[in-house]
Amino acid sequence: MGLQRILFGDNQFFGVNHMSEDKARAQSMRFRDTESIMKVLDNAYDAGIKVFMCTTYDRVGDIADIVKSNPDRYPDFEFYPCMPYAHKYANSVGEVGILETLKRFSPSGVLGTMLTGAMSVVTQDVNKMLRLLVDAEMKRFEGVKTPVIFLQNVITDFILGLKGYQFLVEFHRYVQEKYNAEAGFITMNLPLLIKVLTENGIENPIVCANINKIGFRMCGGVEAYKEVIAKNNARVVAMSVLASGAIPPREALEWVCGLEGLDSIVFGASSKGNIVQTKQLIDEFWGL
């Protein structure tokens, strides 16, 4: 199967816009129900984009259910889940603390028992806790294709900062073992991440980062990114290629498609026209 070249993103569905709260609000009203999201996904699918790269919001479970129950309509539909939905955990930590949050979101109270009953189990095996949290996030994708499973940037970069690299290795190992999937890592620090992953034995890792002409949220700068992408020792997915709309589409895509060594692009759009146009531009620049 392998990593596909053009992926459909989900920010537009869930009230996320890095440039404008107003745009985000308008989008969240438009995509109130699953049906309206599904219409857009249908447009993307019919335009030839078979991958939905999505955060593990609860509502994504409804979309997975629709895809699962309509195999004839969606024979090639793939999900690339991105976990976790961090705000859920962050808000909860503010409310009830770290320990209670772990209990609240652990599957069927297993973790709760671990945490209250035998504290030493947790402290000795943080990896086990991480595996349980991965399973909790993956529950809503049962029965659909998830060939690549991403770790969200706030977690990847948190681990990167703490230098707890063994957790990245364990995530990579576990999603392969349990879900027969490849791990992907989203980051805002691409040069550093690729260096760390390869040094820790993860060869040709799948990584995803902001890659745009104006260098928005590209730690290390545009030149360092260009250099590391051209090395071809990682499969790189570009996100935020339009920098939330700061760059006109044609100019943005021409630049990003011209990068030597870039493997994939993820983009989000709401209208059929924008989806088709973006897909055509990428096809044109990449000669697909």
Binding site: E21, A90, E95, D157, F158, L162, A243, A246
Partner: protein
């Protein structure tokens, strides 16, 4: 290398830990926290020495600097102890629950020539920095009113709070959590109010603390201000802060992502024409070396290290500016009781 220790490994403490640990000129030499499940994980998984007692940490790990992210009621004692041990201090906001204590800390820091900083990270966001520049430069003319608002969802149901954040005695509540950010940002963009005219504190779901704060300010020369903070508003996915500055030639409305300037007919400023103009964070934010959860969190710690290394003399948001913020918070608390 600057040797940095941390006290408090909760939500903010762990965030600072990851960011400072990624700084190329920093070595993390110790973490102090009372929760055993955290300290043993930090020791076993990350190989960083942990402590239950800060004094012991200073003695054994000999840090140059400490980052304190503990419940608000503990800030004064912990910061004082650090400063007296000759350690530079980065302290989570708010500075102290009693402004007199902030003044004492400020004096000790000055006497010992130590860098002191408070975690008012909004001052490091490009849109707010540009707003301050525009207001100072007279873009909207003479200012007559400033408004600051913050909303988010921290307390969204009754009696669920189990942390210090839900206890008044430990400095919990929307006033010391959300509203202090707004006060500090208004102080930064315009100036410190001369007086808090009125204030109301409202409990929406909580028993012991306020969930919303409403206050009005007086500045010199008849300028007025208004503040609203509410951490029980579920229409916001995460904390969202907006500042509006009204001037006689126009106004500026700014949040984390976007700065919108309106200039009334016939007025121009620099490249801005009359009518509405938007500037976006994508063009206004200075890059950082390591990004985890917003440039501002990295930028504030970069500045702390710059201060210690002697590269930056004046530290933005220090104990003196944070004491000014504490004074306003105290007035709001007193008036808000009714």
């Amino acid at each position: 290398m600057v040797k940095v220790a941390l006290i408090g490994a909760g939500k903010m403490g762990l965030s600072h830990f990851a960011i400072i640990s990624a700084h190329p000129e920093v070595e993390v030499v110790g973490v102090c926290d009372s929760a055993a499940f955290l300290t043993s994980a930090i020791t076993n998984q990350l190989g960083v020495k942990t402590f239950k007692d800060a004094k012991k940490m200073y003695k054994e790990s000999k840090p140059d600097a400490v980052i304190i992210s503990t419940p608000n009621s503990t800030h004064f004692e912990l910061a004082k102890e650090a400063l007296e041990a000759g350690v530079h201090v980065f302290l989570e906001k708010p500075l102290c629950l009693d402004p007199q204590q902030g003044k004492i800390l400020s004096e000790i820091a000055a006497r010992n020539n130590l860098v002191n900083q408070v975690g008012y990270h909004n001052r490091f966001i490009g849109t707010f920095q540009e707003t301050r520049r525009l207001v100072e430069a007279g873009c909207v003319g003479e200012v007559y009113h400033i408004e600051g608002k913050a909303y988010g969802q921290v307390v969204i149901r009754p009696k669920t709070g189990k942390t210090w954040r839900s206890k008044k005695s430990e400095g919990g509540g929307c006033l010391h959590d959300y509203a202090c950010h707004v006060v500090d940002l208004m102080n930064y963009i315009y100036k410190t109010p001369s007086k808090v005219r009125s204030a109301q504190l409202q409990s929406i779901f909580s028993a012991d603390i306020e969930d919303a704060v409403f206050a009005s300010f007086d500045y010199d020369a008849g300028v007025t201000g208004y503040l609203e903070a509410n951490w029980s508003d579920q229409s916001y996915r995460k904390m969202s802060t907006t500042i509006t500055v009204y001037g006689k030639k126009g106004k500026i409305v700014t949040d984390r992502q976007e700065l919108r300037v309106y200039l009334s007919p016939g007025n121009t400023f620099e490249e801005l024409q009359d009518g509405w103009t938007s500037k976006y964070i994508t063009e206004l934010q200075k890059p950082v070396n390591f990004y985890m959860r917003g440039e501002e969190y990295s930028a504030q710690l970069d500045q702390f290290i710059d201060g210690i290394s002697g590269r930056s003399v004046a530290v933005e948001t220090n104990f003196a500016t944070a004491t000014a913020t504490d004074h306003i918070i105290e007035s709001i608390a007193l008036l808000g009781k009714g």
